[in-house]
C-alpha cells in the first residue's frame, strides 16, 4: 500500500514506452496445444526499499524466500501464443511490462505487449524503484528513488523466464478447476463493501459460524493444471500450474527487513515440491515444477493474521537528549522497541507460514483432483491501453488523478505512522478511513474523496507523477477468461468486471468462468465500486480517477471480451509517457564482481541459544544471487541429510558487513530439533566451504516456531 504522501516527487526526465505489439502468428508443425514453463531469480541485492508499505517499508538487509518470476507460455497449432507471468514483486510497472515485451519480440518469441499478461503477487517484501510513474519511486518505501539498473535487471530476468518457457514448449494437456478456501483471508474494509447496491451476494457457501469479514471474501482458488509430454517417460507428466486467489501479500510485518516472497512464495513452493515429489524428481534447491500463483481481487482482502503480528508504528517525539539543560530538543521518529519488533515480526512469520501452508494444501488437493485431457483449448487475447490523461471525460473518469487523505494513513494490514494524525493533537487531518477522510460536500469529480493536501497542491506536486494510462487485457485460456487489470481491485469491483466480461464474451463457446487478475501490466493503485468509494476507506482514497473508475474498467473489459478473436487488439498506438525521476543507484553498482580466484569462505558457525548462526563471505555489494545454487546448505551431521538452505521460510540471510571489497553474510536458523548440523558453502572450494558441526536447536521437543 502506498503511503502517506507522494509529495516532492518532482518530474524528472521523460520516459516514453511505445507498445510492442505481437506479429501475426506463424503456424507450427504440431496439432496439439503446447506449453512450457520458465523461472528466473529476481531477488535483488540488499539495499533496496521493501515496497508497498509507504514510509513503513524498510530497507532490505537480506532475504528469506527468494523472489522469482515464473512464466507459462501456451501455444496453439496456429502459432498463437499467450504468456502468463507472475513475479514475486509488490507491483508490476508499465515500464516492466512494455520493456519485457520489447525484449521478447526482439528475441523472436512472437510475444508482444498484447500477448503478455505480467502480474505481481503483491508481496510487500519485494523491490520497487522500477516505476515509470515517479510518485511510486518516491513514496513506496523508506528508500526513495528510481533505479535504472534495477529496472533493467528485472526486465532482463523476467524476459529470460519467458524465453525459458518458450524453449520448453512441449505437447501439453491441461485442466481448469476451482475450489473454495475459507478462513485464511478476510475483507478488511467491510463497512465500505456493505455499501454496495444491491448488497453483494455471498460467493460460495461459507462454513457456519465464520465471522462476517471472513465470509464476505471471494473464496475461489482457480487453478490450471498443466501436464507436459515427457519424451523420456513417453507420457504426460504433471509439470506445473497457474492459479488465482485473492489475498494481499502482507503476511510479513512492516518492520520486516528481509526480501521475501511472503504467503505467495509458500503457496508456489508448496505445490511445486508436491509435483516434484509425484514425479520422483527429488527435492533440490530449485523445484523443477513451476507454479504461478497470481493475485485476484485482493484490493480489500487481507490475510487473516493476528493483531500481534502487526508492529507498533514509529511515533514522532523528542529524542532523549544527551545534552543537558542547554540542549535544544531534537525531535524524530522513534521505532518500536527491539523486543517488540522481534515479537511482532516473529508472530507475522508464524501467521504467514500458517496461511501459506493452508493455501498450498488447498492448491495441492485441487491439482491432484484435476485430470488433464486431450483437446485444443482456445487461446485468445484482447488488449488495450486507456489514455486516462487525455480522454478522461469521454471515458467517464476524473481528469486529474488524486489520492485521498485516507491513503496517507494506510490500510489495516499496514498502517502508516501518520494514521489518525491530528494537527496540534486536536484537529484531524483526515488520515483515517471514513470519518474525516470523507468530503461531506461531495463536490467536484472526486465526490466523497477528501483530497490529500488539497486539489491545488496535489495537482501541482503529485498528480503529474501518477499514471495517466491503464493497460487492460482479457486472455481466454480454454474455458476461463483472465482479465488483467493494472490496479488492486476490490472483491465487488471484480465481481462486476467479471460479470461484464462473461456477458460480453462470445456465447456458446464453453466459457465457464472469468477471473480478474489484479496488479497486471502496470500499477494504478486501487479500484473500488462507486459505492465503496463513497465510504473513503483506504481503497477508495487510493482509487485515483474517482468513483467512475471501476465502471470504466468493467466497460473496457467487457468490450475487450466481445472482441476475443484474432484482431482483438484495440487502440494499440498509445505511447506511455512516464517520469520516473533521476537514476538513483539504489543498489550499489559493483565496481567489479568477485572473480574465480576469490572463493567464497565460511568464516564460522555457532549455536547461540536455539539459533544456528553462520557467517561467510560471498560476492560484492550490488551483485545479484546466483540462480542455480544456494549460497549455503545446512545438513544434519550424522545422516548428511540436506535440511535447509537459503530459500527457506525459517532461514534468514542478511548482509552484515564487508570483508575487504566483498560482502560478509549471516544466516540465522532455528533448527526444528536439537542435533548436530553442518553448514556448507556450495560455491566455495573444499577447504573453505565447511566448518565443524555444531549441536543446536531447541532442547524441548516442539517446534522451531
Amino acid at each position: 500500500m502506498l503511503g502517506a504522501a507522494q509529495l516532492l516527487a518532482c518530474q524528472g526526465p521523460e520516459m516514453r514506452l511505445t507498445p510492442a505489439l505481437s506479429p501475426d502468428p506463424r503456424p507450427v508443425p504440431s496439432d496439439s496445444l503446447m506449453a512450457g514453463f520458465g523461472r528466473a531469480d529476481i531477488t535483488p541485492p540488499p539495499g533496496i526499499g521493501l515496497t508497498g508499505n509507504g514510509p513503513e517499508g524498510r530497507k532490505a538487509a537480506g532475504y528469506r524466500l527468494r523472489l522469482y518470476a515464473r512464466a507459462l507460455v501456451l501455444q496453439e497449432p496456429s502459432g498463437r501464443r499467450l504468456a502468463l507471468v507472475v513475479a514475486d514483486l509488490p507491483h508490476v510497472s508499465a515500464l516492466l511490462h512494455r520493456r519485457v515485451a520489447e525484449l521478447l519480440l526482439r528475441d523472436g518469441t512472437g510475444i508482444g505487449t498484447d500477448r503478455l499478461l505480467l502480474s505481481a503477487t503483491h508481496t510487500h517484501a519485494g523491490p520497487g524503484h522500477h516505476y515509470e510513474a515517479g510518485a511510486y519511486n518516491a513514496s513506496a518505501s523508506e528508500v526513495s528513488g528510481y533505479d535504472a539498473v534495477l529496472a533493467d535487471s528485472l526486465v532482463h530476468r523476467i524476459a529470460r523466464a519467458v524465453r525459458v518457457a518458450t524453449e520448453d514448449l512441449r505437447n501439453a494437456r491441461m485442466a481448469w478447476g476451482t475450489t473454495h478456501v475459507w478462513g485464511i483471508s478476510r475483507v478488511r474494509s467491510l463497512p465500505a463493501r456493505e455499501r454496495n447496491l444491491p448488497r453483494p451476494a455471498v460467493i460460495g457457501t461459507p462454513p457456519p459460524g465464520l465471522p462476517p469479514a471472513l465470509a464476505a471474501i471471494d473464496p475461489r482458488l482457480t487453478l490450471l493444471r498443466v501436464d507436459l509430454w515427457d519424451p523420456a517417460a513417453a507420457e504426460y507428466r504433471p509439470a506445473g500450474a497457474f492459479s488465482v486467489f485473492a489475498v494481499h501479500g502482507t503476511g510479513n510485518a512492516t518492520e520486516n527487513d528481509l526480501l521475501d516472497a511472503d504467503i505467495h512464495g509458500l503457496v508456489e513452493r508448496g505445490l511445486e515440491r508436491h509435483i516434484d515429489a509425484r514425479n520422483h524428481a527429488g527435492q533440490g534447491f530449485r523445484p523443477r515444477a513451476v507454479h504461478l500463483f497470481a493475485n485476484g481481487s485482493e484490493g480489500d482482502i487481507s490475510p487473516s493474521v493476528p493483531a500481534s503480528s502487526r508492529c507498533d508504528l514509529p511515533r514522532l517525539a523528542p529524542h532523549r537528549a544527551v545534552g543537558g539543560p542547554f540542549a535544544e530538543r531534537r525531535w524524530g521518529w522513534h521505532r518500536a522497541a527491539p523486543n517488540h519488533v522481534r515479537d511482532c515480526v516473529g508472530a507475522a512469520r508464524r501467521a504467514t507460514v500458517l496461511v501459506g501452508d493452508s493455501l498450498a494444501a488447498a492448491a495441492i488437493a485441487l491439482f491432484d483432483r484435476l485430470a488433464p485431457a486431450r483437446g485444443q483449448p482456445l487461446l485468445r487475447r484482447a488488449y488495450t491501453t486507456l489514455d486516462l490523461a487525455e480522454r478522461a471525460e469521454s471515458l467517464g473518469v476524473c481528469e486529474t488523478p488524486f489520492n485521498g487523505t485516507s491513503t496517507a494513513g494506510g490500510a489495516p494490514d499496514a498502517r502508516t505512522r501518520v494514521y489518525r494524525w491530528r494537527l496540534f493533537g486536536l484537529f484531524s487531518a483526515g488520515f483515517e478511513e471514513g470519518g474525516t477522510a470523507v468530503n461531506r460536500e461531495h463536490d467536484g469529480c472526486h465526490g466523497a474523496k477528501r483530497i490529500l493536501l488539497g486539489p491545488g497542491l496535489q495537482s501541482l506536486l503529485v498528480s503529474p507523477d501518477l499514471p495517466g494510462y491503464a493497460q487492460v487485457s482479457v486472455f481466454r485460456v480454454g474455458s476461463v477468461l483472465l482479465v488483467g487489470i493494472p490496479a488492486e481491485v476490490t472483491t465487488e469491483a471484480a465481481q462486476r468486471i467479471e460479470r461484464a466480461v462473461l456477458a460480453a464474451a462470445p456465447r456458446n463457446e464453453g466459457i465457464k468462468e472469468a477471473r480478474v487478475i489484479s496488479l497486471a501490466n502496470g500499477f494504478l493503485q486501487y479500484l473500488t465500486t462507486a459505492e465503496e468509494y463513497s465510504a473513503q476507506f483506504y481503497e477508495g482514497g487510493s482509487t485515483l480517477y474517482g468513483p467512475g473508475s471501476a465502471a470504466l474498467m468493467a466497460r473496457t473489459a467487457g468490450a475487450l471480451a466481445a472482441r476475443l478473436d484474432e484482431s482483438g487488439v484495440t487502440m494499440p498506438g498509445v505511447t506511455i509517457v512516464g517520469h520516473p525521476g533521476d537514476d538513483e543507484s539504489i543498489i550499489p553498482r559493483p565496481g567489479r564482481v568477485a572473480d574465480s580466484t576469490e572463493s567464497d569462505r565460511l568464516e564460522g558457525v555457532e549455536c547461540r541459544g536455539d539459533t544456528l548462526l553462520a557467517h561467510w563471505v560471498h560476492g560484492v555489494p550490488g551483485q545479484w544471487l546466483e540462480e542455480a545454487r544456494p549460497q549455503i546448505e545446512i545438513r544434519e551431521d550424522v545422516s548428511d541429510t540436506l535440511v535447509a538452505w537459503d530459500d527457506h521460510p525459517w532461514v534468514e540471510v542478511r548482509a552484515v558487513g564487508r570483508r575487504g571489497h566483498r560482502v560478509r553474510w549471516e544466516a540465522r536458523w532455528v533448527p526444528p530439533r536439537h542435533a548436530g548440523y553442518r553448514v556448507v558453502l556450495p560455491g566455495a572450494s573444499d577447504s573453505l566451504a565447511r566448518a565443524d558441526a555444531v549441536r543446536c536447536g531447541p532442547r524441548i521437543s516442539g517446534s522451531a516456531l
Binding site: 516532492l8 511515533r315 523528542p318 529524542h319 537528549a321 544527551v322 543537558g324 539543560p325 540542549a327 521518529w333
Partner: protein
C-alpha cells in the same frame, strides 16, 4: 555583597571544593558506567542565533555562535551526563546593542559546564544536575564579568510521549543569587514528512516564572537577574527540523517573546523605551548518535 571578606573567601573555597568533588565523582561515574556497559554517547551542537536570550533576558542582541559538547553513559534506565556550552559573540556591535562581552568586542563571552543524572521511564525522564556559569565579559564596557559567575542546581521532568510533550525545569541558584526559577514549555509538531530524510515543523510555547530571584530595590549591590517575581516572559516559536543523515540534524526557527519583567525588555535605541516584544531567528546543526 558579603560584609565579611574572610567568611566570603572560606565560603568560596568550600563551594569550589564541593564543585570539584562533584565534577570528579561525576566524571568517574561516566567513565565507570560507560566502560562497564558500553553505552557512552556523545553529542555536539552548533547553534547560531540572532540574539542570546537566557530565561527571557537578552544577554546579547548581537549574532552569537553557541557550541555545545556533551557525553552520557547509561545503564538501563539510569544515566549520567556532562557537557560544556559556550557563547561566542560574533559581532563587535555598538552601544545601542546588548552585549555580554562588552561594546566593541567579539569573542568568547560565556562558558558553562554542567553535569547531571537522569532516570528514564515509559514516556519520559527526570533529570537533575548542576550548572556552573562563567562570564568573560568586561563590565566597564557594558559586558557581564566574572562577578556575575554563579552556579545552579536544576531538576527537569520531560514527558516526551504525552500530548504536547510538556517539559518543566526547576532551577535553584546556589551561587550569586540563592533563588528559584521555574520554566515550562510545550511543543506541537504540525507537519512531519515521514520519508527519509525526514522533515518536520513544530510550534512551541514556553513560559518563565521567577519565584525568588528578584532584585532587592533597597540593596544597590544586588545582582539578581530579574526585577520582580512572577512571570518573566512568554515565548512562541516555530521551528523546522530536517535530518541530513541519521547522525546529523539541521534546525532553524524564529521566536517571538512577550516580555513581562523589566529585565527581559530591551531598550529601543540608547535612550528609548523598553520593548514589550522581541523576536529573533536561530539555526542549529546537531551531530548526535544515530536515531532509532
Amino acid at each position: 555583597m558579603d560584609a565579611d571578606p574572610v567568611r566570603s573567601r572560606l565560603d568560596a573555597e568550600t563551594r569550589m571544593r564541593f564543585r570539584r568533588s562533584l565534577v570528579s565523582a561525576h566524571a568517574a561515574a561516566l567513565l565507570l558506567i560507560g566502560t562497564a556497559h558500553g553505552q557512552v554517547r556523545g553529542e555536539a551542537q552548533l547553534g547560531v542565533t540572532g540574539r542570546y536570550v537566557w530565561r527571557g533576558v537578552t544577554r546579547t542582541s548581537k549574532i552569537s555562535l553557541q557550541p555545545e559538547l556533551a557525553a552520557s553513559a547509561a545503564h538501563r534506565s539510569l544515566g549520567v551526563a556532562a557537557g560544556v556550552w559556550s557563547n561566542f559573540e560574533l559581532e563587535r556591535g555598538g552601544a545601542d546593542q546588548r552585549t555580554a562581552l562588552g561594546v566593541g568586542r567579539s569573542g568568547l563571552a560565556e562558558r558553562d559546564y554542567w553535569i547531571g543524572a537522569w532516570y528514564a521511564f515509559d514516556g519520559g525522564d527526570v533529570s537533575a544536575g548542576f550548572i556552573r556559569y562563567n562570564f568573560l565579559g568586561v563590565p566597564a564596557l557594558g559586558g557581564i564579568g566574572a562577578s556575575r559567575n554563579t552556579s545552579e542546581l536544576y531538576a527537569t521532568i520531560d514527558l516526551r510521549d504525552v500530548f504536547l510533550a510538556p517539559r518543566v525545569d526547576f532551577y535553584v541558584d546556589v551561587g550569586r543569587i540563592d533563588g528559584c526559577y521555574l520554566a515550562g514549555s510545550v511543543t506541537a509538531p504540525f507537519l512531519a514528512w515521514p520519508f527519509p530524510p525526514t522533515f518536520s515543523l513544530f510550534a512551541d510555547a514556553s513560559l518563565g516564572l521567577n519565584i525568588s530571584q528578584a532584585r532587592d530595590p533597597s540593596d544597590p549591590f544586588d545582582r539578581a537577574d530579574f526585577d520582580d517575581t512572577g512571570i518573566t516572559h512568554a515565548r512562541l516559536g516555530i521551528r523546522a527540523m530536517r535530518s541530513l543523515s541519521p547522525w546529523l540534524t539541521l534546525s532553524a526557527g524564529y521566536r517571538v517573546q512577550l516580555n513581562f519583567d523589566e529585565a527581559t525588555k530591551d531598550r529601543i535605541g540608547p535612550t528609548g523605551p523598553r520593548g514589550g516584544i522581541s523576536g529573533w531567528g536561530h539555526v542549529q546543526l546537531a551531530l548526535h548518535p544515530a536515531d532509532s
